[in-house]
Symmetry: C2
Subunit: 400 residues, 2 copies
């Protein structure tokens, strides 16, 4: 059985467990995961039997890409009748009998959902998004290899950016160096994020006070950005000497993202910032020591927070004050914000195949952000570090 | 009154006309339009009186950016009570009396909507997305100036890309040239699109057969892309001689996008393709002749389609066969897919302040796409062409 057929089979097994008769999948990334295509349409997965991909556009392309039957869906009118023809047992029930149909409530817009409700009056709708997110949490060997490839490219980009650092260069000019390298090495030109209203701009290269500015982005370091229309990530501020330069970057190759952070400086960091950086590495090492099947996600966050507090850095951990975020790491794969999250309330035990970006960072308002971020795959016996870039504070001479 | 206060006043006026008591706005771009900030939260606009921006993150940043009162919203629990305190006449009604509350159904995910329903049991919800999209359809002088700035940058990028064209260079390498130029000139690093599952990758540079490949992207030219995970825009195929190179690019500066297309060739185009290009320019000229207040949007599409058919190019107009798109142009501003659309069913009369990208193109499967796209602002007496780049087929010598 192909990898994607196996994924659909696992989804069906979950659907049976939870009493779902059919799943209508329509988000790009979920479509790619289950059939290998992002063409616009609905993938209908019945609780048993074969799935069908009803495609609006492009049908031609979907037929080339997808590993299931593709049918043209010219309009929503008649979609109910089409489903009843394809799946009479599920969608051809007598009036009054309901079919339990799941959709991706976490991403599906209300307007589109209401059109589905109109098209399928016999459906009782349920939120199936956690089912999909939990399946996607465990990566196959092929997915992990795709992330390794992104890790190799981001390492090249990091070394190129590091070599380009000089006083007076702006954050966004340094980011342009990264973007050029990753684009020439297969980066798709965007990184996907699931959270509503969240946006990723290749990550964030931020120096000094600018890096420490909080933003709407759900991460420990925000960045000044290029104005109120884009108030995150890199800005026009020139990089100065003796301030931390946070190089938090990613790329997306063949759909799979990597996320890594390194801290650099022109000259040297103040002692307390250098110490905070050391604490971030120590937390990462302590986290690594527990990265193996069975460890509970929230415990990794709690241990890291405890360590930060014991080091007198509790207020600076993962952001500052009211803008602190309450996690240590996050799953990555086709999207940057996958499960599991290393945060309170996430009781998942680690499992082989999880891929997690772990990013202990410390924010000092007015001064900058220091920290490190590696991406790891959980293995049968522990972990594989997918991130390749050298660690430690990367220092550029003040005399250039 | 400031520009954004005026926008809120116009929204309130529309709300009164349509019987809406309050509008809860939460999408990034709409927030930016109405208060000048994209921080995560809900902007509550009552049908009369002052709006309040309830912000989850970052409150600090929202207070700096927004021109309305900002209140912290730590969780959805108690949001209803907070609203009843702030707006007792609207949200403090006796049990059984409903408040009509609008939300952006076209973008708001079902899960988040259901949380809102839970938080405000006294609300009767309605879709307000068209109200906002129609307000945003008419740009202010400041917005048009922002788009002019993006037009200036994309002209520089186009000239730089054109100078870089040589046989054997891949589409994506040429796109990387564009991306580097726009990034160094203020491009935010992404272009926003409203449509669910739609993605923009700086536009599309596509040559020959690759450009003519259809995609999920709702435009006349798709592109091969970088694999099934990103099956649109530029790909790795080397650009060859005597094939059309479609350079459809945009950028986003201070939140505002531009969209323009030019056709280039190394050597020369086959006669029929060159002729089709000429038809696209003629259609553009004929459209321009009618670009003034009062002209009905759909009539511009119909006239263009009619012209294409009369030229024997009906099957190639705006895509080929089943993958044709049924429009001639689209509004642009903060997003690439704004109102009005020049398409059947869009009965809007043109009005001063509308900004529209008009893109007559012809697709030849296996051979390529030719065409042109300019962005225009509608004025009191006609139009201003915002696009600056020279027109005509841009020719590169085969002997380089």
């Amino acid at each position: 059985m192909g990898e994607r057929a196996e994924r659909r089979r696992r989804l069906q097994s979950k659907m049976k467990e939870t009493g779902i008769d059919a799943f209508l999948i329509t988000q790009n990334v979920d479509l790619y995961y289950f059939v290998g295509s992002v063409q616009t349409g609905y993938l209908v997965v019945p609780s048993a039997g074969e799935a069908t991909y009803f495609v609006r556009r492009s049908v031609v392309r979907a037929k080339e890409e997808a590993d299931v039957a593709v049918e043209e869906l010219s309009s929503m009118r008649g979609f109910g009748t089409r489903l009843a023809q394809s799946y009479p047992e599920l969608f051809g029930k007598p009036e009054g009998e309901k079919t339990i149909v799941a959709a991706e409530y976490d991403v599906l817009p209300v307007q589109q959902f209401q059109r589905l409700e109109g098209a399928l009056p016999g459906a009782r709708w349920v939120d199936g998004s956690m089912l999909i997110r939990e399946l996607r949490m465990i990566k196959s060997a092929g997915e992990i290899e795709a992330i390794r490839q992104s890790a190799r490219v981001i390492d090249i980009a990091y070394e190129t950016a590091f070599a380009a650092i000089k006083p007076g260069l702006s954050e966004v000019e340094l980011m342009a160096v990264v973007e050029s390298v990753i684009r020439h090495n297969g980066h798709m030109g965007l990184m996907r994020v699931r959270g509503y209203n969240q946006e990723i701009i290749t990550g964030m290269i931020g120096a000094g006070a600018a890096a420490a500015m909080p933003t709407y982005f759900d991460g420990p370091a925000g960045g000044q950005g290029l104005g109120a229309a884009s108030p995150q990530s890199s800005g026009r501020r020139p990089i100065g000497a003796d301030e931390p330069i946070l190089i938090d970057i990613g790329c997306c190759i063949d759909g799979y993202v990597i996320d890594q952070t390194r801290t650099a400086v022109i000259g040297e960091l103040a002692e307390d910032l250098a110490l905070a950086y050391e604490v971030s590495e120590t937390i990462l090492r302590e986290t690594e020591a527990r990265l193996k099947p069975g460890t509970v996600c929230e415990e990794l966050y709690e241990a890291a927070l405890e360590h930060a507090r014991a080091a007198g850095l509790g207020d600076h951990f993962m952001g500052f004050g009211a803008d602190q975020v309450k996690f240590l790491g996050h799953g990555i794969g086709l999207e940057i914000d996958e499960l599991p999250v290393l945060a309170k309330g996430f009781r998942y035990g680690l499992q082989p195949g999880m891929v997690i970006a772990i990013e202990p960072k410390f924010t000092f308002p007015g001064r900058g952000v220091v920290g490190i971020e590696n991406t790891y795959a959980i293995t049968e016996t522990g972990f594989e570090k997918l991130t390749l870039s050298r660690e430690g504070i990367a220092t550029v001479s003040r005399q250039m």
